[in-house]
Symmetry: C2
Subunit: 337 residues, 2 copies
DNA sequence: TTGGTCATAGAAAACGTTTTCTCACCACTT
DNA sequence: AAGTGGTGAGAAAACGTTTTCTATGACCAA
């Protein structure tokens, strides 16, 4: 004899409480119902161990109360930090979050976008993969989409981005203030952030009247190391380097280390994305810290706004980061010049 | 006049292809059907832009082809690495993954476990929150559960764990081999991994015939720093430290830095969980690297096995990590003694 | 030819909810 | 006192699929 042959449904609860299934549904969704019945239903829910079937609920009610969060790289602490902010806001509003990781693979990205549509999600927050940057931004989703971190050229979706140009400029100015004049920057070649940061870097250099090296580095292992080695063996060795993201920063450090150069004693180094270990390197690394919590909050807010006003104009929010100044070298060139 | 008043369903496809909905369903799920019809259906699917409704599919077919992956801390690179492995295996088998982050909060964990049941997931892989360790392991889920990383005492679920005792012993032996004799270990007080690693540490010390300090550190900001400060201001200063996880390792480094001590010049340091920045600190940090890919693969395999054999005996898989030996100090005590 | 088995595809039921529809009841208004 | 409006709960439809059931026709053996 089977112990529990069939899972308990709303009808079973109704039977136990001596009411109609409709009434159980009403109690469960908090709509007005006779207090006596409400009590009976609640007791029945507990005694039967009823658990709503979300698939059935979604099918009938035609809203999933779910948003899709598609991230380009779940190993990147920036993305996980943003996801935490988004997730906590979403649950506070009674929305579930489906988290997907594309690993910077456009095929996986397309697969997940399709999947989200099949799930009939309410909305999507997408951190596009790098390669997306090349294709025109025709997402053509049935639900609102908010882009974060990376822009898709020509996209008609709302987005929230870091002010990459300004921040790269800020970083260069910081290095300049510290007395550095021969500055080289390494930027991701294929991401919109890399390109924007590079633009900001070069414009700031023009403003400051200094000449700089701005290198576009392919996203492949060893490329940054090669570039650093080439830079430092060249005729006029830079006295400061700048990296356009956290991964590249580590690569640059590794390269410097293999050349037996120490930061900031022998060369200055700055970059993007703060990590807890950065203060442990030499005198620390100067970086731009992104306002992760605010990015997540803004993206969520924009998505909710868009759901309320589907036909409002496209919005683009640009946020500033925070310069974490560290790594003033012992023999600071600014005082030495 | 509305452009697209209603989303296209399987009936619309059927109408276009001049077949019954059942036949469309059969084509979609790859069951045998007349080639001519199959072609018509496939054409109709494309021309109508049909997208299956997963909620309806799940409701009717009664299987979700979805597994829940509940992680204690999405910011921990160990967990994200494991999740990548799990995710890729799952999609290869046509399973979707719902990723949830409890932030070490037992209430959130309970909430997500309940949610997974409401989603009627096929199975769950759970990295329990730290506090779980205290409560008895009565998950009482309706679906199979595989535990990873942390054990729940008395749990009846399958699990895959690191051989924490052995690895902690290995690490201590390494420090001992390097000539260190006054060794202190800092271990998370409330996680099963912390406790097991501490046990392994103390047993190995007994084996080696040395006395060690094994400290249980509460999981709160500043605690590890306090403990390090106390240790190093005490009468017989340790010449080597060991930390039971990555977070604590950073805290210890920070504390040492504020005491102007350098690793490994002034003191040796070892711990768990490898990170790419570790080789950049001093001469590098010796750590135990966990076999993340294998952990994920094993968990997934165990889950699938359990689905096939629900009544098989409970299994516990214990995996070994890899010692990444780094950080031999310039004035190595082993050669200096 | 006839009867039986098998394969194939359409018809209809079913999945577990929410929502709409309907009806009974009660309180007001006129 | 009779109509009217509002309220609250049960009945039944609906959500978009898959699956079961049924009917038709083909094929084969007797």
């Amino acid at each position: 004899m089977p112990v529990e042959i069939k899972s308990v449904g709303i009808k079973d609860v109704a039977k136990v409480a001596n009411v109609s299934p409709a009434t159980v549904s009403r109690v469960l969704s908090g709509r007005p119902v006779d207090p006596a019945m409400q009590e009976r239903v609640q007791a029945a829910v507990i005694s039967t161990g009823y658990r709503p079937n979300l698939a059935a609920r979604r099918l009938r009610s035609q809203h999933t109360n779910t948003i899709g969060l598609i991230l380009a790289d779940i190993r990147n602490p920036f993305f996980t930090a943003v996801s935490r902010a988004i997730e906590s806001l979403a649950t506070a509003r009674g929305l579930r979050v489906i988290l997907c990781n594309t690993d910077e693979d456009p095929a996986k990205e397309a697969m997940y976008l399709e999947l989200m549509q099949q799930e009939r999600v309410t909305g999507i927050i997408l951190a596009p993969s790098r390669q997306r940057v090349t294709r025109a931004g025709d997402l053509a989703m049935d639900c609102p989409v908010v882009l974060i971190d990376r822009a898709i050229p020509g996209a008609r979706e709302d987005c929230v981005l870091l002010d990459n140009e300004a921040m790269a400029g800020l970083l260069l100015e910081h290095l300049h203030d510290q007395g550095h004049r021969r500055i080289a920057g390494l930027f991701g070649a294929s991401s919109s952030t890399g390109i924007e940061r590079r633009n900001g870097f070069e414009r700031a250099a023009a403003r400051l009247g200094i000449t700089v090296d701005a290198l576009a580095i392919p996203h492949a292992p060893g490329e940054a190391e090669k570039a650093v080695a080439a830079l430092l063996s060249g005729p006029d060795r830079p006295d400061a380097l700048m990296a356009s993201n956290g991964l590249m920063l580590v690569s640059v450090l590794r390269a410097l280390r293999s050349l037996s150069l120490e930061v900031p004693r022998d060369i200055a180094l700055a970059g993007f994305d703060n990590s807890d270990w950065m203060e442990l390197i030499g005198n620390g690394l100067t970086v731009i810290e992104q306002p992760v919590e605010e990015i997540g909050r803004t993206a969520m807010t924009m998505l909710l706004d868009r759901l309320e006003h589907p036909d409002a104009a496209m919005r683009k929010t640009v946020l500033s980061g925070k310069l974490i100044a560290r790594g003033s070298s012992a023999r600071n060139p600014a005082t030495g010049s």
